[in-house]
């Protein structure tokens, strides 16, 4: 399925703004992303399997509420949003 990558993570995808990844849950999807782009999952999910505080995951424009077990369908589109607040 298609995964939209936010600017702060483009260094992991060699500047690709949209990539393909597989998985029947968000957990599996992010693990597949990490297999293709090593290190990217840790930028999204911490060591306690929690979505980082300033990251949001959307499935077909609906916020996934940080539920990594949420089921996915092959034609879903995933958007990763990274906040850029701060000074």
């Amino acid at each position: 399925m298609r995964v939209l990558i936010p600017n702060p993570l483009l260094s992991y995808t060699k500047q690709a703004r949209a990539v393909e990844a597989q998985g029947v849950t968000l957990d599996q999807l992010t693990r597949d992303l990490d297999r293709q782009y090593p290190g990217i999952r840790f930028r999204i999910i911490d060591e306690h399997q929690r979505v980082r505080r300033h990251i949001k995951l959307f499935v077909n424009r609906d916020q996934a509420d940080d539920n990594l077990a949420a089921p996915l369908k092959p034609d879903d589109e995933i958007m990763i949003v990274a906040a850029l607040s701060g000074g």
């Binding site: 702060p8 290190g39 911490d46 060591e47 980082r52 990251i55 990274a82 906040a83």
Partner: protein
């Protein structure tokens, strides 16, 4: 005798690794420390807490970096910063034993000379990690992270610095890779003689004015601890509550800050030692009165030097602004080089780099307009 042996080896060039709130810069000097060239930024936009060159090979650089939103990491270069890779396994707490998450890596220390590839790092919140592959992967030093008394030693959220509680000043005894010291803000100083398997507090004589018992077993706030490389039984520290020295095997710290001028006080963040003379050390005092402005006292920056192990201190401010300069120097941001007459360097909270070729007698601004400087490390740049 060959002619070449009559001459001393040429002094190596000195470089300053400058870790800032917005990235890493390298200020490369020539062998005479006369001209300096600023290189960078590396990791622009990352908060860089520490950058250290491995003295064992002279080319491996490790950098403690994070962004504001995407977590922490350790960046690695094996060619003095020409190319970089990210740690494959950054330091993280074991979820099976610890509900905490690492917020940032704060301190990096190369391991013992006999253990190439070994590094230690200290994190916020309090965590100690070791790498045995040059920083590519990190494992918890669980003798500390899982120690049954760690929570007592470290306290809670109210016991850390404004930027979070942290492990810093990781020191490996140059005579023994099993002998380690760490500092905790807050928590105090702890010692291990078994490569981190167990730890004991080493805080006798250390004042903690903010505790009900001003001399507790632990809970102090050391800001920066340094072991003297030529006399490894001697350690100095700049503490939240003064300046102290210890000469092992004694376990009692000696208060050497009382001879500082009362108007300046004995509070500060960094402490730097002479590379060869165990009696010479430098501090950079800051205003620790009232609500702790953490600025140069009175807006008049100065370094203070002792040449007798802390019995007396001399002010060194030639070249600094005489007034209205309200910057200070963070705990990792002052460093000495290894020249015969050591050079001293520090970075300020206002983004300036100052240097002295004559051990602090006079100072010159080497770079300005950088972001808030967190760390400066002088190293031989061959």
């Amino acid at each position: 005798m060959a002619k070449s042996s009559l001459h001393k080896a040429a002094a190596p060039a000195t470089a300053l690794l400058i870790a800032t709130r917005k990235g890493l810069w390298i200020l490369a000097g020539d062998a005479k420390r006369a001209t300096w060239k600023l290189q960078g930024p590396h990791f622009l936009g990352h908060i860089v807490h520490h950058a250290v060159l491995d003295p064992r090979d002279g080319k491996t650089l490790l950098v403690a970096a994070r962004t504001g939103h995407l977590g922490h990491s350790v960046m690695r270069s094996t060619n003095r910063g020409r190319t970089w890779t990210e740690s494959k396994q950054p330091p993280v707490f074991d979820p099976a034993h610890d509900a905490r998450s690492v917020d940032h890596v704060f301190w990096l220390t190369p391991g013992h000379l006999s253990e190439p590839g070994v590094w230690y790092c200290g994190t916020s919140p309090h965590g100690l990690f070791r790498s045995e592959d040059g920083g590519a992967t990190w494992q918890g030093v669980n003798g500390f992270n899982h120690h049954p008394k760690r929570r007592d030693w470290c306290g809670g959220d109210k016991d850390g610095t404004p930027d979070g509680p942290k492990v810093h000043s990781i020191i490996v005894d140059p005579r023994d890779p099993n002998h380690l010291y760490i500092g905790m803000s807050g928590g105090g100083i702890f010692e291990s003689i078994d490569r981190g398997a167990d730890w004991k507090p080493l805080n006798k004589g250390l004042l903690a004015t903010f505790m009900p018992d001003p001399y507790p077993e632990y809970g102090q706030d050391p800001h920066c601890i340094r072991l003297h490389p030529a006399l490894p039984d001697r350690l100095y520290q700049q503490n939240h509550c003064g300046i102290f020295r210890i000469d092992r095997p004694s376990d009692m710290w000696i208060d050497i800050g009382r001879s500082m001028p009362k108007k300046v006080g004995n509070i500060g963040f960094p402490m730097t030692l002479h590379p060869r003379d165990p009696d010479t050390a430098w501090v950079f005092p800051m205003d620790g009165s009232d609500v702790w402005p953490r600025t140069s006292p009175g807006g008049k920056p100065a370094v203070y030097r002792t040449t007798n192990g802390g019995k007396t201190w001399q002010r060194q401010d030639k070249g600094f602004p005489a007034q209205q300069a309200w910057w200070t120097v963070k705990r990792q941001a002052m460093s000495a080089d290894g020249h015969d007459v050591p050079g001293l360097y520090f970075g300020t909270t206002s983004g300036e780099i100052w240097g002295s070729k004559n051990s602090g007698d006079s100072w010159k601004c080497l770079a300005s307009h950088l972001p808030h400087v967190y760390a400066v490390a002088a190293c031989a740049w061959r």
